[in-house]
């Protein structure tokens, strides 16, 4: 990461929400790149070399901890034509995210200290956001032999996952969970039974039947959620379930939490915003894994977010080049970019009354930081001054050509949405300002 700013900043008059700590009009004082104070009518003494104080007027705006995304794909090394750590972190900053966890399914897979160090070095040079690598569970994510998880941890990985190529062998998964206990490292699973999902490219249901596309049943996810919960109970490991998409998953996790199993879960904006209907017309921009599900599933995901079963909102930001999504539906790759649309789509849940504003913010900040034990997602005194200033009233049209991401693959192009990032600060340094803010 680039050195923090030595500039003293005073963010004045905004509606500060630091979940569980502050929710009201307040000022935020930043000194030496750290949060110095949050409170009413703060005054700043210029420190540092030039001794000046930069005042940021945040009246009518929200002042929030920088968002934390537990699930992004930055494609570097190996697929730099889709995204680089530089472009990915720029997209993060534009979306208000200051901490991102990048999945290991690069080429080569991040199953070694060397790749982890490479990613961290690229992130340091880019300087747009804090990047926390997620290491592979198994060598090459082949599901056979454990990766050097201790080394990965020491090099800076914050969790392990074989995302996209889930560990099918339950014994290997058991051993991974046990081994990770030694480092108190969360084990993430993308829950998909690869036999049940084989050949599938959308949700199995009436739409897949009408379109003649092979479906992926909800059970392909539920079966693996169930297995993972049983293994978490057996081992006592910290389990984190990626991108839940089914009503069954939500039910299973709710029950597991009630029984005291250590599990956290995330949901993605597309899974609480869209249904399988979006695939009609063979729309490859609505192709993702897990697939967009049925209306009942969407309602269950929202209920899971509301009652706390689902702790975290994560994007599963998955860039793909335009020509890849121009292929026929079955051949097109899974995934959409999400960093630059997540905030607005999350605020819809607030508008709908599913979440309070504070709980929505918590699912983007405090909850993900806690799930992976990151020192982020808060405005507590002394932490790095990662702050996002949001204009909650601004309405705008999603225009992929203006994305910072290298890729444009979103099903939300042309959507009119409300709530936009006004500025993003990383360690007290402005890393993104909307054109209106400039």
């Amino acid at each position: 990461m680039n050195a923090s700013s030595t500039q003293t900043l005073l963010i004045q008059g905004g509606h500060v929400i630091d979940p569980g700590r502050t929710n009201g009009i307040a000022d935020v004082l930043i000194e030496q790149g750290k949060i110095a104070a949050v409170g009413a009518n703060l005054t700043a003494q210029g420190k540092g070399k030039n001794g000046s104080v930069q005042i940021i007027d945040a009246r009518h705006k929200l002042v929030l901890p920088g968002f934390v995304d537990l699930h992004v794909h930055f494609r570097e090394p190996g697929f730099e034509y889709k995204e680089t750590i530089k472009s990915g972190t720029a997209a993060a900053a534009a979306g208000g995210f200051t901490s991102v966890c990048c999945m290991p399914n690069t080429q080569p897979v991040n199953d070694s200290q060397a790749i982890t160090e490479f990613i961290l070095e690229k992130a340091r040079i880019a300087g747009n956001a804090r990047v926390y690598p997620v290491g592979a569970i198994t060598k090459g994510s082949e599901g056979k032999e454990l990766a050097e998880i201790g080394d990965l941890r020491r090099a800076g990985c914050v969790a392990i996952s074989d995302d996209g190529q889930p560990v099918m062998n339950s014994l290997v998964m058991r051993r991974a969970m046990e081994y990770a206990l030694a480092f108190d490292l969360p084990v993430i699973d993308h829950c998909e039974d690869l036999h049940l999902s084989e050949g599938g490219c959308m949700n199995e249901g009436v739409v897949s039947t009408q379109l003649g596309l092979q479906g992926v049943p909800a059970a392909a996810e539920d079966v693996m959620v169930s297995r993972n919960l049983a293994l978490a109970e057996l081992t006592g490991a910290r389990l984190h379930l990626a991108h839940l998409s089914t009503a069954g998953s939500v039910r299973l996790v709710r029950e597991a939490k009630a029984r005291g199993i250590r599990v956290t879960a995330e949901a993605c904006p597309h899974h609480f915003t869209l249904t399988e209907e979006a695939v009609r017309g063979f729309n490859t921009l609505a192709k993702m894994n897990p697939p967009l599900r049925a209306w009942d599933d969407v309602q269950a995901i929202k209920e899971g977010l509301r009652d706390g079963t689902i702790d975290v909102i994560a994007t599963d930001h998955a860039p793909h080049a335009t020509q890849e999504k121009l292929q026929d539906f079955a051949a097109a790759p899974n995934g959409i970019v999400g960093l630059e649309t997540a905030l607005s789509l999350t605020l819809v849940l607030v508008e709908e009354g599913v979440l309070t504003l504070e709980s929505a913010v918590a699912k983007l900040t405090k909850a993900p930081a806690r799930a992976f034990s990151l020192n982020a997602g808060t405005l507590a005194s002394g932490v790095d001054a990662d702050v996002v200033i949001v204009d909650p009233q601004e309405t705008w049209e999603i225009d992929p050509s203006r994305f910072r991401s290298k890729s444009r693959n979103t099903p939300f192009a042309g959507w009119k949405v409300k709530g936009r990032v006004h500025a993003t600060l990383l360690g007290g340094r402005i890393v993104y300002e909307s054109s209106e803010a400039r």
Partner: protein, 307 residues
């Protein structure tokens, strides 16, 4: 006379009136195929490209004959001898063909949605000649034409579609076509071959062939794709044939005079007994003959030549 849409990518997007319009147009073209000189100048100067990414003999030949009998120039283009093997995308291939002023592209592709994707990307008219498990609209139209020719009334007509419905574009197109025209459609086969929520398409499901054939006017047998045996859809061809093969005894369960159809190519002795395929109930070869007339009608209506 012409269709409102540029393309024919599926039956799902057609109204009952449009379906009937195609069938009525096919009536007049059927007469052409019976003449000494089987040719009319309706599409003279137009170019039709058969773009077939999947092997097909009967459908491609049928489209080729249809286009030639309308005096169009026909090019056959298949991936084995084209740049497709060099990694060109479907859309780029089609745009190149379009750049050579093709008026109509007839597409057969293994991927569902290929025709719709192509239709959005080119100005030429696109006719879907089968896309994955999605649709095969001209097959359904020629099936309807054959039923109508046998003086059957669509409204209330009881039709059983038997076999691997989940993996059949013929089944989907026929379900859309027949239900749109008011027929009473049932699908018959093992549960492993029934796609999710199939009844939401307005059909009834039977897992027992004898029950499924009760009082039906028409039996449409689907081809069993023998290579699917290893995919846990059915244990053996032997058992499938015993449970779901159409035999002379079973045919008696249907209404007297019931018609038997099959899109071909048939597996004799597997899904259909040879004596039925060759018997008086079978209209399998009428289907083939009518395929040319129906495809002439579709080519004609999409070309705008009637305007």
């Amino acid at each position: 006379m012409s269709l409102k849409q540029k393309d024919l990518t599926g039956i799902a997007s057609l109204s009952a009136e449009e379906i009937m319009q195609i069938l009525e147009t096919a009536d007049s073209f059927k007469e052409v195929s019976g003449r000494e000189i089987k040719k009319v100048p309706a599409l003279r100067g137009k170019t039709v490209v058969n773009l077939f990414f999947e092997p097909s003999t009967r459908t491609r030949t049928s489209f080729e004959l249809a286009a030639k009998r309308l005096s169009a120039d026909v090019i056959n283009f298949s991936p084995s001898n084209s740049s497709v093997v060099k990694g060109e995308t479907l859309l780029d291939t089609a745009r190149n063909i379009e750049a050579m002023q093709a008026d109509i592209i007839v597409l057969r592709h293994s991927s569902a949605g290929a025709a719709e994707t192509l239709a959005r990307g080119v100005k030429s008219s696109v006719i879907n000649a089968g896309d994955g498990w999605h649709e095969h609209p001209t097959q359904a139209l020629l099936d309807l034409f054959t039923l109508r020719e046998k003086k059957l009334e669509f409204r209330g007509l009881r039709v059983a579609i038997v076999g691997d419905v989940a993996h059949s574009r013929v089944a989907r197109s026929n379900i859309y076509a027949l239900t749109t025209l008011g027929a009473d459609v049932r699908v018959v086969g093992p549960p492993t071959m029934m796609p999710a929520c199939i009844e939401r398409l307005g059909v009834k499901t039977f897992y027992d062939l004898d029950q499924g054939l009760q009082d039906v006017d028409v039996i449409m047998m689907l081809r069993l794709q023998l290579e699917r045996q290893g995919r846990a859809l059915f244990p053996t061809i032997r058992e499938y044939s015993r449970l779901y093969g159409l035999t002379t005894e079973r045919l008696k369960i249907a209404k007297p005079g019931a018609l038997v159809m099959h899109p071909g190519p048939i597996n004799r002795g597997v899904e259909i007994a040879p004596e039925i395929a060759d018997g008086f109930s079978s209209v399998i070869l009428d289907q083939v003959t009518n395929g040319v007339a129906v495809r002439m009608a579709v080519l004609y209506l999409l070309s705008g030549a009637g305007n």
